[in-house]
Symmetry: C2
Amino acid sequence: MNVLIVHAHHEPQSFNAAMKDLAVATLTAAGHDVVVSDLYAMGFNPVAGPADFGQRANPDYLVYALEQRNAVATDSFAPDIAAELDKLRRADFILLNFPIYWFGMPAILKGWIDRVFVSGLCYGGRRIYNRGGLAGKRAMLAFSLGGRKHMFGPGAIHGELETLLRPIEQGMLAYVGLTVLPHFAAFHVPYIGDEARGACLEGYRRHLLGLDGHAPRVFQSVEHFDEQLRPNTGA
Amino acid sequence: MNVLIVHAHHEPQSFNAAMKDLAVATLTAAGHDVVVSDLYAMGFNPVAGPADFGQRANPDYLVYALEQRNAVATDSFAPDIAAELDKLRRADFILLNFPIYWFGMPAILKGWIDRVFVSGLCYGGRRIYNRGGLAGKRAMLAFSLGGRKHMFGPGAIHGELETLLRPIEQGMLAYVGLTVLPHFAAFHVPYIGDEARGACLEGYRRHLLGLDGHAPRVFQSVEHFDEQLRPNTGA
């Protein structure tokens, strides 16, 4: 399969970068074709704005999603967005590799979503969730964080990790039709020694080799909702 | 009180900008001192990186939170971060005004959090939640979104809005000790007419004037957890 890894860490020597390198090596050795968007190395601009469009449907008033739809129709995205869209179109599997910042993605990666998951191609109207524009492709999160495993879960201080990741796994990935595979979390990374780091990377390698055996997470089906996206009452 | 409004929309003519302008006018008229960080107008850089520090504790390997702690101790943040920190220190009430992008903040605002909510000042170790570094200050989200109100809630297609906002309201605001006031949501904004927009702004004005009457949202108390932040068993 064609794999796109989007990587968002500023330190090439980091554990997070080692996770990315391991994914490249493991998936390449398994016969896949792997492309990496290393956002820091690319100097990727995460700020959605007027310069994202080579021509404007409405030059006087910027409604970002409407201009995205126009740019899809006229093939007029800024070159950096067009390049990422080409990678996204080719990919069968999209792997987002990042450190958790504030229970979410670093801004450079959030901006990759903001600018590259374009309306008109990835979603639009009722083309969301199982009918999303990227349906048929798979995606997964791989992340490192400072917190320990016991800080997450029912009754834990930060609550359930699945809840904290819902805006990403449901609201970004599943929303555009991607099949969401179980994430890989590397806990407590800044505070653990080499042995624990090695064990963590080995766990990640097994996770990657077992991708086809992971049951995808289940999210919404548009069929359960009416034309206004209200729940169907079964009438 | 001293108010800091952080505004993150690229279109000065937008409804979202009108919300920001209304907040400035309403809170100023009520006798408060209002400062605005208009992130797009400022060209704010949202990408956390090595240039954020005037001097480094470790120039060879960037651990972002550790360098933040060093920069707090040595007063050596990059000027743009230092300027935002000054505003944050002075503020009694922090109002984040933004359009929902992907069930979260636009990257330019996420990066303001990433770079300005610094370790060592805003949080650190067990100085989180009710013991966070910004305890005593209040905060609130005001946002516009394309979705309709019926798309959010138990059984609705996107699920509960409070869940989708949890990484922000709990994981960013409450985490650093801020008292979180109920958010204001402007639904379906790109699709409604002038009359509905006027009614929405009037609702927002009343929300702002009634700030002191809103019960804050309740999040974690560190006292319920032990030194390792495991739940106390009451022993």
